[in-house]
């Protein structure tokens, strides 16, 4: 929980580079927290009228491998918005988050010069490549063959000049809207060299990012009256005397850098635990400042208490401008964007959910730099899981995300709702651009992993699960964890093999669905026919009338022997033997996903029995001879196995449930009556267009 003081004023001089702006550089972490492979010094000037950025970048890249590196590869993310032929635009059909790019809203980035520090010009060597799809029109990745290879563990320093134009309105995270600018994925950014190759994917419609850690020193020049928010800490602001000011930001052990600027921001500051929170709010959301800060408090305290220390000194929360929702709900190191609407009711916890979610990324993506291109679930999925846990703890147990006009929905229910419509188009672990479509990507990267981990939590227990998350976080901080690493941690902490679970949950599209398919209750009659002379009363001594006997059959011949058990309940009253009933229950596994389940049997005298089924066979039959009639049988009565796509078929009752059906029916009847009588009430629906 302890953190380095923000400015542990060991200022050192940072003189190299040709930036001219060699200011004193603060040190946030005297001991580097990461390998610091990719380090940037960038000087950037915004020209608001043209939405253009003019940048000078010095990249210091350390070869982390034992290979001789003959070429470098870079991302030019903004080129995704260059035209409608880019891979991003082709895949997305020009639509991101339900929004189209503006008619003349295209954006781009151009590297105008690139050279080795010291002078050798390499600009002509740049070559666009398309490692993922071979689309020749895509210019989001380029390779740079080097005149001399970078030796193992060696360093290369490059000077890069670039010019960029931001899309408008903000599209797929970045862009400009009038006086508001959100600048993300904006500079030439080196890929990740690992396992003997470059991992540098194109910008896809449904992919996010992957990068190495480093130190960033960024000088941002904007109109003097503008307020700036950015990754890291603001070291100094210098007025340039020409109506502009330069804001110098410094960040350590981060793998990305984003910034925003607007003259309209209202600034709120508050210290939450050991984190300085700065909220940059739009003026029309002034009355929601408290709400944003409270949500930040919930996020920070829960994450630090449950999962581990947030090492950075600060967090900036940006509220995107109206008409700029394309930049809402996004995460960058120490800087996140939220998103709200004027008049958003308190009971619709969109602000809370988005802040908890985006802050969560500072853990699952920015402190654990997984590969979002290839294994998006490691970030979004784990983050959705923690978001659900925190929302429920803070605002639950019911209606944690919506509690409005009598409608109460938990985030968990909402995620499950998304999942059950698209349960089997893809497995979770897949490259982001290879999913069936955007919905399947989002279901498999967010909702389903959230449900997978909740199911695991309910299986292992909440405490053990939290320990898994903590261990995973502590062990993989500032590294690049893969799915296998998460599984290894889970198995180690759980102390058991979980391959059977993860194989199905992460690497297959198997659907989990258990159902009670039939129940039959019959009075036990006296045997008839040959060989039978004894009455039921007579058999009672051995069969135990008034006692309980359970037998199970399944398609396996030996099933009865495998699981049959007898539990004797108190049969004190031996004088008057009640009528025995033969209660039979058939349960089925309707999906391919095998998972152990608990089955509860409730009888009309109040007796309750619980059985455990490993769930492997296609079906199983339970038989109980008891002095009571079965009321109902239910699989997973507490709904712990949230991956089950159908809870309605999890139970069966002996009697028809008229009361419930009637209640919903009369409510529906009344709504229709009202609507027929007053159709004008429908106009009220427009109030809920948020």
């Amino acid at each position: 929980m302890r953190k380095m003081a923000i400015f542990c004023v060991a200022y050192i001089f940072w003189g190299w580079g040709n930036l001219g702006l060699s200011a004193a550089q603060p040190v946030l972490f005297p001991e580097p927290l990461s390998q610091r492979i990719a380090n940037y010094r960038i000087e950037v000037r915004l020209e608001p009228e043209t939405r253009k950025l003019f940048g000078t970048e010095t990249l210091t890249w350390h070869n982390p491998s034992n290979d001789w590196i003959h070429e470098l590869q870079f991302h030019l993310y903004l080129n995704a918005f260059r035209n409608d032929r880019s891979t991003f635009m082709r895949e997305s059909g020009g639509v991101s988050r339900g929004r189209r790019i503006g008619k003349d809203g295209w954006g781009y980035i151009e590297v105008t010069a690139i050279s080795l520090s010291g002078g050798e010009d390499l600009t002509d060597r740049m070559e666009f490549i398309q490692p993922d799809d071979g689309n020749p029109d895509d210019k989001t990745v380029f390779r740079l063959p080097l005149p001399r290879p970078v030796p193992p563990r060696g360093t290369v320093v490059l000077d890069i000049q670039f010019e960029a134009k931001l899309p408008t309105p903000p599209f797929a995270r970045s862009g400009a809207k009038e006086e508001y600018f959100f600048v993300g994925q904006w500079f030439p950014k080196i890929g990740v060299y690992e396992n003997g190759a470059w991992n540098c994917h194109q910008y896809h419609a449904h992919s996010e990012f992957y990068a190495d850690y480093g130190v960033y020193d960024v000088w941002i020049t904007v109109p003097e009256e503008n307020i700036v928010g950015a990754t890291g800490v603001e070291v100094e602001v210098k007025k340039n005397g020409d109506g502009t000011a330069t804001h110098y930001y410094h960040a350590e052990d981060v793998h990305d850098f984003a910034w925003t600027t607007s003259p309209e921001f209202l600034v709120y500051e508050e210290r939450i635990q050991d984190v300085d929170v700065r909220l940059l709010l739009q003026p029309d959301h002034k009355n929601q400042a408290r709400r944003h800060l409270e949500a930040a408090k919930v996020a920070i305290t829960h994450f630090q208490d449950w999962y581990g220390d947030y090492p950075y000194p600060n967090l900036t929360i940006v509220d995107p401008r109206r008409g700029a929702a394309g930049s809402a709900g996004m995460e960058y190191p120490t800087l996140i964007t939220a998103g709200t609407m004027y008049g958003l009711p308190d009971g619709i916890r969109a602000v809370e959910a988005v802040i908890i979610h985006e802050f969560g990324h500072n853990y699952w993506y920015h402190l654990l730099a997984s590969n979002e291109f290839e294994e998006a679930w490691l970030d979004e999925g784990i983050n959705t899981y923690t978001e659900m846990q925190i929302l429920n703890d803070a605002y639950g147990p019911v209606g944690d995300v919506v509690d409005f006009l009598g409608i109460r929905i938990n985030d968990l229910q909402f995620q499950r709702y998304q999942y059950i419509f698209w349960p089997d188009y893809d497995p979770i672990v897949k490259k982001a651009w290879e999913f069936y479509n955007g919905t399947s990507y989002s279901v498999n990267s967010y909702s389903k992993p959230g449900l997978v981990l909740t199911t695991l939590k309910n299986y292992l227990g909440a405490e053990k699960m939290r320990q898994i998350m903590r261990t995973y976080f502590q062990r993989w901080r500032f590294k690049h964890p893969r799915t296998a690493d998460f599984i290894a941690v889970a198995e180690e902490v759980a102390g058991e093999d979980l391959g059977w679970f993860f194989d199905q949950a992460l690497f297959s599209n198997k659907v989990l669905d258990y159902a009670v398919s039939a129940i039959r209750v019959r009075r036990v009659r006296e045997p008839r026919g040959f060989d039978f002379t004894l009455s039921v009363k007579d058999t009672s001594d051995t069969a135990g009338v008034g006692a309980f006997s359970a037998q199970s059959d399944s398609q396996k011949a030996s099933a009865a022997a495998e699981t049959s058990r007898v539990t004797v309940s108190d049969s004190a009253d031996t004088t008057k033997k009640p009528v025995p009933y033969e209660n039979e229950v058939w349960v089925r596994r309707l999906g391919d996903f095998v998972f152990p389940v608990e089955i509860q049997f409730v009888f009309d005298n109040g007796d309750t029995l619980t059985e455990h089924w490993n769930g492997r066979d296609l079906w199983k039959k339970y038989r109980f001879v008891r002095p009571a009639k079965l009321e109902y049988a239910v699989i997973d009565p507490e709904r712990k196995v949230v991956l089950d796509v159908n809870f309605t078929n999890n139970s069966m009752t002996r009697k028809k449930q008229r009361a419930g059906i009637n209640k919903l029916s009369i409510r529906w009847l009344f709504w229709v009556q009202t609507l027929l009588d007053q159709p004008e009430l429908l106009t009220l629906a427009q109030l809920f267009r948020f």
Binding site: R322, N410, Q657, A659, L669, V672, Q673, L676, T683
Partner: protein, 287 residues
Amino acid sequence: MVFSSLLRGIRSVWTYRRVVLLFYLANLLAAFLVMYPFRAVLGKFAGWSLMGKFLAGRLDMDFFFELLKYRQEVFPALFGLLMVVAVLYWIAELFLSAGAFGVLLQGEGYSSPLFWRSAGTYFFRFVRIVLWGIPVFIAFYLIQFIEVGGQRLLFGRDPYQNVLYWGRWIRIGLQFLGFILWLMVLDYARIIAVATEERRMRVVVWQALRFVFGHFGKTFLLAFLLYAGGILVGLAYQPVSNALSAPSSVTIGLLFIVQQLYMMFRMALRVARFSSQAVLYQKMAGT
């Protein structure tokens, strides 16, 4: 004059209770036609599940989402049925209103033969009133765009969200206003058609417009009071309905009774509206 008309209108509800009953039964029957298939679907989906039992309490959202998923083909059909039933219901309602105005304007209490005879006599005229009322409806519907224009004028093309938000409320208010005005014109047109035996409905609608706006203070106050009364009772219904949330059969039965009493009140309000407006018209036209 407005209040005496209102009082007479309210008093006449009891006299014309059979008309109220007819309106109520038509409404119940129409809604029942939409409810019944829904109930059958529900019964099949959850009737033998514990979910069916839980439904007696609060709406279980897991269940609701599963219903949307596993019976997704049902909802478009149900919506289509609702639309068809709505159109049929509004036609039936027009037919009944022809009978209602017939007996109300005659002013001598309810008479079954007179009711049905009037219904037959005036129904097609009323249909023509509604058709002539369509341009009137469009005109009133456009009232709401005052807000859009005003907003553009005052706040430009890029207003803050609080402007958009409150503008939306104003727009809803104007939509309701347009709707009330339209209903007023239709009501008085029907009254004039019956009272004057004028056969050209174009003329009747025009006369109704002139009457409504010629005596706007009175006609609007009367309509507003009746409309507001309906809203107040509607607001009072909500907490009662919420209180009746216990999952027992008795409570569910009680809820049903309260709902139907409320619907009867709505129908009584309709008869009171017809009646008090007829009284007001007769008084004004008489003077």
